[in-house]
Symmetry: none
Subunit: 273 residues, 3 copies
């Protein structure tokens, strides 16, 4: 029986990545929600300060929400906690290489799931262009500023007043030129990021399928098995807990000694987890 | 039998923190409601007075509702009262170190739950920027005022009329600059607070899971047990109370001596609480 | 048997306050209804008279509805009448100290419940600011008026026409300044009141729980018992009364001497009340 579960563990870690195919619809929903949220933020909350803070402000709006979404992705993923509990319980024991590799694979697969929302945020923000525009006009790196203002009339004034461009100040003609090219850069980066996400998704699923020792139909069987086992564990545990609670309370209110009750030991639990 | 419950107590205090994962949806709802309430307040009720009161007024709107929400979080949490009753009953007896640590952990875990709403309030208020803007233009600290008005035309007038800026008074160009940078500072602080909340949540859950002696599946079983026990205690207590009340009233109306009735003693109650 | 009820009485008076936890939802509803009512009054009914009556008018709208709500709270509370009946029956007999303390505790606990609605009224009214604004422009205390109009242009005119400000009369610039700071003061007071309410609630419940001799779970059992007993008293009393009435009427119409009927004596009733 414990052999069943060792095998199952290996299988789980493999088709966890290929499960991404199945949950692509869910990923699409997450990406859409993120995009909607980004739109609301960029119109209602974001206002470029047009001073020294430009770069920090733009970067905070571009990256910090993405970081928050990444952490949220880790927090909300059940597998993170399964993995962590598993690792912590082996703290005392010597870690075998095989288990470390399996844990690394699960971590990798959690990360791929958690990265969907932050990538969407950054991609949509870059396609929008507001944050990048604001950040890049406030870099205060003179080489970059020269690069942005090259081949323009009033080059000196452009470099000096660059941080005021997103608020609609500074010489009109130059400003429009600069903002248009910054926005274009931002949108090119956005499309590249989206393509990168797609390619990575495709490659990862390919690798996961190829390295799996089992066929497509067998995989479906295993998925069904794991799903059924999880359901049954829940229902058995519920039944067991109810019986145990009833026995303890009965003995408390009626002042009788509790009956004997067979319950799995901690070691048994560890073996199946 | 009492050993069962001692074990249960230790388990409860541990996975209470990790329950945060399970209740993340509830937290999201609380945060959303808080954010909505903040929006209503900041548009309908908040009006910066634009005089000496600016700093106090802004800070009151930023912090006092958060404090009220924190207290409300403590008041509405059942565990607060369970813990308090438990601590007060041991007043006379010598407190063992182990119990104190357990109580500290429960208090810590109640606090993490209670902090969700106030943190959300402060985060949304900072992202909005109204309160911070009003508070920071009324600090009356000349160094800060100089910092805000540096590199502006009309520096002296800016410092003098700073507290009137949020009401749309004072020189237009300077005012817009100052308000934009204050709003930017406020929003950067807001995003940092949100990231901090996420990181803290992740770390706390990690620590709680790692220090737990039981596996993920066993945890689910224990949660089911505690849930069932709570339900059954309620139903048993109801049945018991009904029987006791019926006996007492029957003996009162029919003037017969009350029958003997087995009821748990106060000491028994204390042992299982 | 009477010992049962003496114990019960002590328990009742103690967890009456801690019942506030259970009824926090009800309190929230009361507070919400009060707030809504206040909003309706302040827009539809309240119109500052802008003359000598300002102070009285504002204070009446701020305090008199609160007083009415307080009295309503006392009237609608069943415990008020239970306590009053109990106290009046002991008029002739010497009052023992223990009973007086118990009565004081119940009165205190009724007051805490009755204070919810008036506090909400005052808090919402202060957050709104209309009543305070109107009251404070009509104080007719020259020191206060000077304080309000300090550092303004047209100081003399401001002091003189202060009571006309809430109706939109008097010099515009000065008027706006004065009304904004009065509204700010009012809202700060409102928030402080809300915090005070929260802290008081928390502290009272703490004290009530700590001084209670019983544990959290036992408390739940006792609540269930008291609830059941109240229900059963009503049903038993109904049954008993019906039987008694039937016997009396039968004996009246059939002109037979009434059968003997066991009914509790007045002394018995007093003992259980």
């Amino acid at each position: 029986h414990s052999c069943w579960h060792a095998q199952e563990f290996g299988v789980m870690s493999l088709f966890g990545v290929s499960e991404t195919v199945h949950t692509n619809l869910g990923f699409g929903l997450v990406a859409l929600l993120t995009a909607g949220g980004e739109q609301i933020f960029s119109t209602a909350v974001f206002k470029c300060p047009c001073n020294d803070l430009n770069f920090i402000y733009g970067m905070v709006f571009l990256l910090v929400p993405a970081l928050a979404l990444l952490l949220l992705g880790y927090i909300l993923n059940r597998k993170t906690w399964k993995l962590l509990t598993g690792l912590c319980q082996h703290r005392g024991k010597p870690l075998r290489c095989k288990k470390l590799v399996a844990a690394g694979m699960i971590l990798f697969q959690i990360s791929t799931t958690a990265l969907v929302a932050p990538s969407s945020w950054i991609a949509v923000a870059l396609l929008n262009g507001n944050y990048y525009e604001c950040a890049m006009t406030g870099t205060n790196v003179s080489i970059y500023n020269k690069h942005v203002c090259r081949e323009k009339n009033q080059e000196a004034q452009c470099e000096k007043e660059l941080h005021r461009f997103p608020c609609g100040k500074g010489p009109q003609a130059v400003r429009d030129d600069v903002l248009l090219s910054l926005r274009a850069e931002s949108q090119i980066l956005g499309w590249l990021l989206i393509t990168l996400m797609m390619v990575t998704n495709l490659l990862l699923t390919c690798v996961a399928r190829c390295s799996s020792p089992i066929s497509y139909l067998q995989l479906k069987f295993w998925k069904a098995y794991v799903h059924e086992e999880n359901n049954l564990i829940d229902s058995y545990a519920d039944k067991h807990a109810k019986a145990l609670a009833e026995r303890n309370l009965k003995s408390f209110f009626e002042k009788t000694p509790p009956e004997n009750f067979i319950t799995p030991s901690n070691r048994d639990w560890e073996k199946i987890s």
